[in-house]
């Protein structure tokens, strides 16, 4: 129990700093940045405390907003993702997901991939929509959401493979 909590805190801090110090500076083609910090929300234990997840993802988003000077867009996107996470689980893994031990940080199967994909798309569409809030940029937003989604997805999968606990 305690080690899970500590693991979450460590993940929170590590992902936040990796995001701010490394991934926010990538600027591929001038404007595409991946946002693998949402792995915190994605990899949160399936049966973990939902209220705790909501609060933690709110603070994660708020800290990101501070670093990016973006008001509250990351916070809004993160809590939406945290809130709809059980629904995405249900969609990707079937109804009885809570009883199986779903392990996300393992080999990527179609179920896990669909979960990642939906989570990233949900988060990014809210993020980019709120970031501009102007319909004159609609195509730009869609294009950026699309490219960033792909980029985030790739980064997330790489990170999952890297931190995957070795098989016993």
């Amino acid at each position: 129990m305690n080690s899970a909590l500590l693991g979450n805190i460590a993940r929170f801090i590590l992902l936040l700093f990796a995001q701010v110090l490394i991934f926010n500076r990538i600027d591929l083609f001038g404007f595409i940045n991946p946002f693998p910090y949402i792995l915190f929300v994605i990899l949160f234990p399936v049966n973990g405390n939902k209220t705790g997840l909501l609060a933690a993802s709110f603070f994660l988003g708020l800290l990101m907003d501070m670093f990016c000077n973006s008001g509250g867009v990351h916070a809004a996107a993160c809590i939406t993702l945290a809130y709809f996470r059980p629904a995405i689980f249900k969609f990707s893994f079937g109804l009885s997901y809570e009883y199986q031990t779903v392990k996300l940080n393992d080999v990527i199967t179609p179920e896990r991939f669909s979960f990642l994909l939906i989570a990233v798309v949900l988060h990014h569409s809210i993020l980019f929509l709120l970031e501009v809030f102007k319909l004159s940029f609609l195509w730009e937003i869609l294009w950026r959401t699309f490219l960033s989604t792909i980029f985030t997805l790739i980064t997330c999968i790489i990170i999952i493979y890297i931190i995957k606990p070795s098989k016993r």
Binding site: V20, C68, G72, T80, E140
Partner: protein, 275 residues
């Protein structure tokens, strides 16, 4: 009563979600309206401190280009100095007030963003060095932005690469004014809108700051005209301006402190009140 408590207990997660969503949405909307939110900016000591540490390391990687830039600027200033007719007149004294109108604070960019629509920079000087909101920020090549929020040791700057920014500018040759905005497309180009059709514009003409605002002094370089359009709606010219500055690589910047700013804003506010 029991039912209300039950309802809250049953839906605690949903209520928490809605509460947090409302908070973050209101923060978002606040940040979209003209600067209001105080807490959520990288000018506070935590985020500013981290950016400064990181920048201390990053700085070493472009020391060479920064040095070259400074040497170039020194050379330019030296040439101005030597070509003055009377060098004793150098510290320009205002005939009425006896002091110079503008003061310059030097600072360093510790965080630079240019990949989103609303870009901000963070610098490592704040209100302790006398930096206040709405001061102009330039570097050796041209304008950079306008100070937005300040804390004791840090300040954020609305970059000219921000769709919210709007700066008064003019064509150097013909003195026609327009507003400098950014369409969010390229980091090397900004747009000058509302230029009257009378203005003779040609590709390659220099654009400088206009003297109509108290934020920037007149004649600070911005860029050169790259393309000329005619706006279908307003029938004014829209010009694509190629910036002198490379906004993706900024080192030291100068903050312009207009000593008359307070007086002028006070006067203008009074005028508004009287109307």
């Amino acid at each position: 009563m029991q039912q209300i408590v039950n309802f809250i207990l049953k839906n605690s997660n949903r209520l928490l979600f809605l509460l947090l969503l409302v908070i973050s949405l209101s923060l978002t909307i606040q940040s979209h309206s003209y600067h209001k939110s105080k807490v959520i900016s990288s000018a506070n000591f935590f985020t500013g401190g981290i950016y400064e540490r990181v920048n201390n390391i990053n700085e070493y990687f472009n020391l060479k280009s920064q040095n070259e830039e400074l040497a170039m600027e020194n050379a330019r200033l030296k040439s101005l100095l030597f070509n003055q007719k009377d060098t004793t007149k150098l510290p320009e004294i205002d005939s009425i007030k006896g002091v110079k109108k503008t003061d310059i604070i030097v600072s360093k960019v510790i965080h630079n963003s240019y990949s989103v629509f609303e870009n901000y920079l963070t610098i490592n000087n704040g209100s302790a060095s006398g930096i206040k909101r709405n001061m102009g920020v330039i570097n050796s090549a041209g304008i950079v932005g306008i100070v937005d929020k300040t804390s004791k040791n840090y300040a954020t700057i609305i970059s000219i690469l921000n769709v919210k920014s709007q700066i008064n500018a003019k064509i150097k040759k013909s003195n026609h004014f327009g507003s400098l905005v950014w369409n969010g497309k390229s980091t090397g180009f900004v747009q000058l809108i509302d230029v009257p059709r009378l203005a003779g514009v040609r590709k390659g003409d220099t654009i400088v700051t206009g003297g109509q605002s108290i934020i920037f002094p007149e004649n600070i370089g911005i860029g050169t005209i790259d393309k000329v359009y005619i706006d279908d709606v307003t029938n004014y010219y829209t010009l694509d301006i190629k910036l002198f500055n490379d906004m993706t690589n900024l080192g030291h910047v100068y903050i312009i402190k207009n000593k008359d700013a307070d007086e002028i804003t006070k006067l203008e506010n009074q005028n508004k009140k009287d109307e």
